[in-house]
């Protein structure tokens, strides 16, 4: 019992530190869309495979505090309804982003499984990024439930940056493969995506 409580307390402290760090680092309404501009080149291969992350422009709107300000100004009695609606959308968006990043990572594992040009440090970096993304996205989910979607913009920005890194890493690695390998991987991926009965 005491051990459980200690672990719980440690977990809460770590979550608090993470939250404080990320919230203190948050800039005034940074554009989440600008984060995605850097990944356009390496994203092409993932786009061809229909492995696009959800739009950052949409996230920009979902997490925009200006909408909350509008509600507080125009219809303060609807604040709770608005927060409930926006929290629900934010959570859906987060889940969609997590699902897509998971798919990109699974595709990457499939792609490098048969690749002769395996680079240890690249593998390690992408695996580390994916773990970091999962940690951030699950923390973000808890934070959205606890604080609402408008105080967590710093964490959202951070999670995007990591998802971008994963996209870039996977895009570059897969893009460097020869055409025949890529075609074979695409076929394998398509078979995995639509398993036979």
């Amino acid at each position: 019992m005491t051990g459980t409580l200690i672990f719980l307390a440690l977990g809460l402290i770590l979550l608090g530190i993470l939250l404080a760090t990320l919230l203190l680092r948050q800039q005034p309404e940074p554009s989440l869309a600008s984060e995605s501009k850097r990944v356009d080149g390496s994203q092409a291969i993932l786009t061809a495979l229909e492995l696009n992350l959800p739009s950052r422009e949409l996230a920009d709107r979902i997490f925009a505090k200006s909408d909350l300000d509008f509600i507080l100004r125009e219809a303060p009695s609807l604040k709770h309804v608005f927060l409930r609606e926006r929290t629900s959308v934010a959570i859906r968006w987060l889940r969609a982003t997590r699902n897509c990043t998971g798919q990109i990572f699974r595709f990457y594992r499939l792609a490098v499984r048969s690749s002769p040009a395996l680079e240890f440090w690249t593998e390690l970096r992408i695996a580390r990024d994916y773990c970091e993304f999962l940690l951030l996205s699950y923390s973000l989910q808890v934070l959205i439930y606890l604080l609402g979607p408008f105080l967590v913009r710093g964490v959202v920005t951070r999670a995007f940056a990591v998802a971008d890194r994963i996209s870039i890493g996977v895009g570059q690695t897969v893009g460097a493969m020869d055409q025949s390998s890529l075609m074979r991987i695409k076929d394998d991926w398509a078979k995995q995506a639509t398993p036979s009965d």
């Binding site: 920009d60 709107r61 925009a64 219809a75 608005f82 609606e85 926006r86 959308v89 859906r92 969609a96």
Partner: protein, 157 residues
């Protein structure tokens, strides 16, 4: 060469649709309602006789679909305040009383038909959520000034 010609025709068709048809509508919400109403609900295909007459049926369908997507993206990415204003102007431009329209939109949710095919589901959910909030705001405004529930007499903010 043929592909280039098709691209030019598509640009022309889109421009034609915007200039001749969409420009005459009161605002973006009215345009969105109009564009989605040109879609056959059984097949999801767009039909626009005027555009098909000037260009081809296939080109008209692509042009209407393109404009529908473009407009939906614009509305989804607009601020909540802008959406509320769009909806307010749209409802005010209808023949029915605002309260009646609000009630029907809340109950029947016709706004679900305004989404173009192929939109991602998070965008759809975000759009539906914003429309629900906008309807609640407009209803709230109407309740504060019930005597103004007349056509073309929406309380001005």
């Amino acid at each position: 060469m043929k592909q280039r010609a098709n691209e030019v025709s598509l640009v022309d068709a889109v421009e034609d649709l915007k200039r001749r048809t969409l420009a005459s509508l009161s605002n973006d919400m009215a345009r969105l309602v109009y564009l989605s109403s040109t879609r056959d609900y059984l097949t999801g295909r767009y039909y626009h006789d005027g555009l098909a007459f000037r260009f081809t049926g296939q080109l008209a369908e692509v042009a209407v679909g393109f404009c529908h997507h473009e407009l939906f993206e614009k509305i989804v990415s607009s601020q909540l305040g802008v959406l509320v204003r769009e909806l307010e102007v749209f409802i005010r431009s209808q023949q029915a009383r605002p309260r009646e329209v609000l009630g029907a939109w809340k109950k029947l949710q016709p706004y679900r038909m305004l989404v173009p095919q192929g939109s991602d589901w998070v965008s759809k959910e975000f759009f539906f959520s914003n429309i629900r909030i906008a309807l609640a705001i407009l209803e709230d405004r109407l309740e504060k000034t019930p005597h103004q529930d007349q056509q073309s007499a929406w309380p001005q903010q």
